[in-house]
Amino acid sequence: MEVTKETLLGFYETMVTIRTFEEKAMELFAAGYIPGFVHLYIGEEAVATGVCANLTERDFITSTHRGHGHLIAKGGKIDLMMAELMGKVTGYCKGKGGSMHIADVDLGILGANGIVGAGQPIAAGAAFACKYKKEDNVCVCFFGDGASNRGTFHEALNLASVFNLPVIYVCENNLYGISNCQRDHMNVSDISDRAASYGIPGVSVDGNDVMAVYEAAAEAVKRARKGEGPSMIECKTWRHRGHFEGDPGIYKSAKEQEAWIKKDPIIKLEKKLLEYEYASEDELNAIKDTAKERIEAAVEFAKNSPDPEPEDVLRDVYAD
């Protein structure tokens, strides 16, 4: 698969934007601007980026509790995201959802989700709608290694297979579900092997290599658009931070952490860009600076936005 300079630089920009967003969220959480739970995507940026590069606005995704990266990669607006994290009325959900529920249905983003594994059948449903309407759009479902043990995984992948739905199940295997590491929560090493239980093709790729992710997803999306049914992709990756902000991560060994930090997907891509001479260090820094500026602007927007009114509590429960 040939990938142009522009594409690769686009990946870089997206990944850097996610990273910058997350680092800022970390800071804002520590400073008390963000209430509740925040699960950061730092270290996993290549997955959302490589996958979503294959999607258009008409395609769908379902996301997770660790959803900021998916949203940004799918085109979500960072100012509305930031405002939502702070519970502001200008946020994506008018302050009603917060980090775990950010959504943009118009962009096909069917929401982050606080229930591990809940997106799996929902994604099948969105893909069902694509097929029912005889359109060629598709749905991508992001979920974790831990989520692959939930009953929803089994039921959703089986349903997707039986109905031959245009859905791509993307497992972000960061080796842990909170403190529970993969060797303790399952007895298989490649989660993609589980696709065989449904007669679905499954592959495992280096989730820190955005190109590898992109290519695997391209293949799967192509199959889906052609009506050839669901696929599963396992992306092996690592979260740099605790499960949520505040988790010191005592269950991880320092050695393991160190080894993975070296495989940082952004550094990996930077090396490639420099090696291919697609960009100079300065140019990369310029991209980083732009990202920082965008995020700062989003923070300003969020900070200057008003809170909801108490009366809003009872709005939006029902559509009428």
Binding site: C93, G111, P121
Partner: protein
């Protein structure tokens, strides 16, 4: 008007909307060629084909979960859960996805879906196939709950439920499926949230729904003979509840008896009693009585099942207590 059974009427409601709106489809276990466990969907597969009447694997979680995704993406699914007892399997999808999505997204999603499911005891199906679980669903913000008691409502509420832009639990009672009634034809709905006064009366208000409406009506007939004039009110929709109609009735009668087939503790009768003991306290001149199943699982043996399901005698006895 046309005479049909309750099951024909609810099926006709589905058929009517499926003919009208191509985004309406039906999915569930054995809803296709098999026609549903109690024949609810018989003939629809033949009429609308496998793309709109869809057999699923045994996979309630994915049935409801997929419906949420499909509804949020522009379709209007009707999904069947073969027995209401099985909603435990997909409760997360009902409790945390279907009904909360709109709110969590700040009003920026619509989840129009109907969950059709039979409830009720009386057919010897025992503890895991006979429950009346409506109270669970009434407690979930974002949900609507309808429980038709007669054929006309079965059809009219079905059409209204499908047209509603929110998740609706449509709970049909197994014991009513074969009961005939007059049903209006064409585009006639029964609006969600509107009670029906089945019989006017002046001495006591009996609120009953689903299969209990019939029992309340027989009880009222017997009471009439003994000089007690009972008003029988069927809320038809439990959520939203037409509390105004209940309060008006109690304002007139001063007495309230609530009848439901569900277990007493935590049943929806408590909610109605509480609303009236608050907003209608001044109308009351006697205790509020509930006639319900006892707090046990549904037993198998016909003798026990008969003792379990509230009957006419128990309603009569509860009413008479208020006049003692």
């Amino acid at each position: 008007m046309k005479t049909m059974t309750y099951v024909e009427a609810l099926r006709d409601g589905m058929r009517f909307e499926m003919n009208k709106d191509p985004n309406v489809y039906l999915a569930g276990e054995d809803v296709g060629i098999f026609g549903g466990c109690f024949g609810q969907t018989a003939g629809l597969y033949q009429e609308f084909g496998p793309e709109r009447v869809i057999d699923t694997p045994i996979t309630e979680t994915a049935i409801i979960g997929h419906a949420v995704g499909a509804a949020a993406s522009g379709l209007r699914p009707i999904v069947e859960i073969m027995f209401i007892d099985f909603t435990g399997v997909c409760m997360d999808e009902i409790l945390n996805q279907a009904t909360k999505m709109r709110y969590m997204f700040g009003g920026k999603a619509k989840v129009p879906m109907v969950i059709r499911t039979p409830c009720g005891a009386g057919v010897g199906a025992a503890a895991q196939h006979s429950q009346s679980l409506e109270a669970f669903f009434t407690h979930i913000p974002g949900m609507k709950v309808v429980m038709p008691s007669v054929a006309a409502d079965a059809r009219g509420l079905m059409i209204a439920a499908i047209r509603d832009d929110n998740p609706v639990m449509y709970i049909e009672h197994k014991g009513l499926l074969g009961v005939e009634g007059e049903v209006p034809e064409g585009d006639v709905i029964v609006p969600l949230g509107k009670a029906d006064i089945k019989k006017e009366g002046s001495d006591v208000t009996i609120v009953a729904w689903s299969a209990m409406v019939g029992k309340a009506m027989s009880a009222a007939a017997s009471l009439e003979k003994e000089g007690i004039s009972a008003e029988v009110l069927d809320p038809r929709t439990l959520k939203p509840l037409d509390i105004d109609s209940i309060l008006s009735s109690v304002a007139k009668t001063g007495k309230l008896v609530i009848v439901h087939e569900a277990n007493k503790t935590g049943g929806f009768g408590g909610e109605i009693a509480a609303l009236v003991a608050d907003e209608g306290f001044d109308y009351l001149n006697a205790p509020i009585k509930r006639v319900t199943a006892p707090d046990s699982p549904v037993p198998f043996s016909p003798v026990l099942e008969k003792a379990y399901v509230p009957g006419e005698e128990k309603i009569i006895a509860a009413v008479k207590e208020l006049f003692a």
